[in-house]
Subunit: 144 residues, 2 copies
DNA sequence: TTAATACAGGATAAATTTGTCTTAAAATAA
DNA sequence: TTATTTTAAGACAAATTTATCCTGTATTAA
């Protein structure tokens, strides 16, 4: 569904959010450990998230990653997905046609639009805060 | 959503179905032309579809690919997707966890299950016949 | 000021997916 | 039977994605 990079991005963001809510800043290695991801690759992804201002990074001792408190409730999954994978999840024909729309649709155009719309709605409605709370309550998990 | 291979597979199958309904057998080159796909790669995919008995192939002059008439109405998109991409579309955690279920879910488990179930239902309900008919009626297109 | 710590960024490498090429095998028709 | 046509299959190559490594830069605390 998503690229590996995007999966790591969501997991990393949720872990940072969870720690930020507790007033803690987290380092790269701690993040990679918490979400069970390759450290160096995770660093690349965090760079992108930082450039897109989805997370904030601070260098030096006591540095690390965090998310502004006020931001956590407003950041939606859709922003993370868009930062990493772009809009190809919403755009783009399900059968790979270079162009495909209601005027001149591929054979599965309308079926796919229905599912993609639901996916988009879900990503835009789901906030980092609510998911981080599920983690904090021990209801959900970031690695297994 | 799907791999390139899977996209070609669906497009190729639909073209073969469309021609089979008209009593015509189609060669590899004609298929690749009709769906605008790389010939040699399409050949590989057709091999897989043939081995999985989703299409039938015949060698030699007048040979080519076809689908048994009785089969066209019964073949569902899900069979094509499964033959090429396996069950990783239905299985597998949305965030890439090695294990993820209702007992110990990832943070987006239930949101993803809902969307995946709808996708699965759609793939299992959509037949090659109905899509080939849309093509034959000029309502839908396999290349653009 | 200096040493240590932690992220940033570029180069590089491994793995996977996508795609090509060549030869073999099968089948038809002359 | 033989020449021709067409798919089958394996080896190979290109492109993309995933992942690593090394050096630079910023920051903090002593």
């Amino acid at each position: 569904m998503f690229s590996k990079a995007c999966e790591y991005a969501i997991r990393a963001t949720l872990h940072i959010a969870q720690e930020s809510l507790k007033g803690r800043r987290v380092g790269l290695k701690e993040i990679a450990e918490a979400i069970d991801s390759p450290v160096a690759f995770t660093a690349k992804i965090l760079q992108i998230l930082s450039r897109n201002n989805i997370v904030q990074s601070l260098k030096g001792p006591t540095g690390g990653f965090e998310i502004e408190h006020g931001q956590i409730a407003h950041t939606k999954l859709s922003q993370i997905v868009f930062a990493i994978d772009g809009d190809k999840i919403y755009q783009g024909c399900g059968l790979g046609l270079s162009k495909c729309d209601a005027e001149k649709p591929c054979p599965v155009h309308f079926q796919f639009v229905a599912i993609r719309d639901e996916m988009q709605r879900m990503l835009e409605e789901t906030s980092v805060l609510e998911l981080a709370e599920g983690l904090e309550q021990g209801l959900t998990f970031l690695k297994r």
